[in-house]
């Protein structure tokens, strides 16, 4: 998308710069994203605004084009890497400035599965949307999810799997939550290439999330509903 070789980011006005950040994210240009984030900070932008309007906004375009088959995994990974560069600058500032807290998610790839590209994207986008994320990494047995969700007082448990052979383990986790009488304490989101909505329903998850953007929107919606129920109750 970005073609200008000698574009000087600091000479762009705010709107142009944000637009340019969308392009640079799309092209996976990490140094340019880091530079642009620093420019916006110098101009007095709130870290939360940079995160949501520029970085998350740009990644949403990337996510949509991936969904529509315009972009492929390598491009998404490069874009995510660029976004991470920007987030690394913003994270400490977000803590200082007290950005809105949307909720807390414990997320991990299920037992027997080492694939984490999708899970990492969801983690990053959830953080970008203001969720606190506790990432359990790969190959997680049921106790990792449940113990951490309890210890962290999480709102959401997220599970990911890439393999048809490992996705049934999600049901083991949910069934254990039911046995322990804690299933309704958490919103359970599941995702991964071989999954679909039908599978999510069948195993008793609250939602199947097709991609990272859907995960964020679903999490926001279900957390809001949960809070409303708690207020009403």
């Amino acid at each position: 998308m970005a073609e200008e070789d000698d574009l000087i980011l600091s000479e762009l006005d705010d709107d142009e710069l944000v637009q340019q950040m969308f392009d640079d994210l799309y092209d996976g240009l990490k140094p340019e994203i880091e530079e642009a984030v620093n420019i916006l900070l110098e101009r007095g932008w709130e870290p939360y605004d940079i995160l949501t309007k520029a970085l998350v906004g740009g990644m949403t375009i990337v996510g949509n084009d991936f969904r529509d088959g315009i972009l492929f995994v390598p491009e998404v990974l490069l874009a995510a890497n660029a976004m991470k560069g920007g987030m690394a600058i913003l994270k400490p500032l977000l803590v200082e400035t007290g950005a809105p807290k949307m909720g807390k998610m414990v997320i991990g790839t299920v037992k027997g599965d080492i694939h984490d590209i999708g899970k990492n994207l969801v983690s990053m986008m959830m953080e970008g949307a203001g969720f606190e994320v506790v990432d359990l990494g790969i190959n997680n047995p049921v106790e990792n999810y449940i113990d951490t969700a309890k210890a962290e007082e999480a709102d959401i448990v997220g599970m990911s799997a890439l393999l048809t052979t490992t996705m049934p383990y999600m049901k083991v986790v949910i069934d254990t939550m039911i046995e322990q009488g804690i299933r309704d304490d958490y919103i359970v989101l599941v995702g991964g290439a071989p999954l679909n909505e039908e599978f999510g329903k069948a195993i008793g998850a609250d939602a199947y999330c097709r991609d990272a953007a859907v995960a964020v929107e679903t999490a926001k919606l279900l957390v809001a509903r949960k809070h409303n129920r708690m207020s009403a109750g």
Partner: protein
């Protein structure tokens, strides 16, 4: 016999008509709808066993990089051709479709191979599952030959080697499940392992349960 024989050494194994399926001119009684990555092995088995009553229609092997598209592609070929055959068999395993292909085959009343993927049926499903090798990255003869077209380039590693860890950071070994005895292919597989920074292991599987399944299908009336 099918006259349009796909070249299994090509990434675009068979793409003569609009939906990427080889034309059927065989006049056999049984149609095999197969993944292009298995074309070489199936044709070999047909030849050595004299299974002239089996016709073969291959879908492009590259569908494996978008497994969500496999069921629709299989559906199209099966429904278009089933009236011309006594039976249709689908030479795919689940292949990352999350059970969708099995549900489709059940609905269409056709058989498919009961295995998670071709790695499992080449080695033998029980043995493969028993190994439980989470950190192994598998290649078959086809994938060794087509490594650049099916792995290296689609993952963008030719353009962005820095993505290596994102894909392979948790893998420990490249396991070559060999269908054939071919020292040159084994050397190629070892080279791929080195490129990926993975320990190399070769296991001779032959055609495994692909052969026994086809034999069963070929002998059914």
């Amino acid at each position: 016999m099918t006259t349009a024989i796909p070249d299994p050494d090509r990434a675009d194994v068979v793409t003569p008509d609009a939906d990427g399926v080889s034309p059927l001119e065989g006049g056999g009684r049984v149609l095999l709808v197969a993944c292009g990555a298995l074309a070489h092995e199936i044709l070999h088995l047909k030849r050595i066993n004299g299974w002239d009553h089996l016709d073969l229609a291959c879908l492009p092997a590259i569908l494996h990089n978008r497994p969500d598209r496999i069921p629709d592609a299989v559906h199209a070929v099966v429904t278009r051709n089933s009236s011309e055959y006594d039976r249709v068999c689908v030479v795919y395993a689940d292949c990352g479709t999350g059970g969708a292909l099995q549900r489709l085959c059940d609905r269409l009343g056709v058989e498919m191979i009961r295995a998670p993927h071709c790695y499992a049926f080449f080695e033998g499903v029980d043995s493969f599952i028993e190994r439980d090798e989470m950190t192994a990255f598998y290649l078959t003869d086809f994938l060794v030959r087509q490594f650049d077209a099916f792995v290296w380039r689609p993952l963008g590693l030719d353009r962005h080697p820095e993505l290596h860890d994102a894909y392979f950071g948790h893998y420990e070994a490249l396991v070559y499940l060999a269908q054939s005895e071919d020292p040159a292919l084994t050397q190629q597989a070892a080279d791929h392992a080195q490129r990926l920074g993975l320990r190399f292991e070769r296991r001779k599987t032959g055609y495994g349960e692909l052969a026994t399944t086809l034999e069963q299908w070929a002998s059914q009336d």
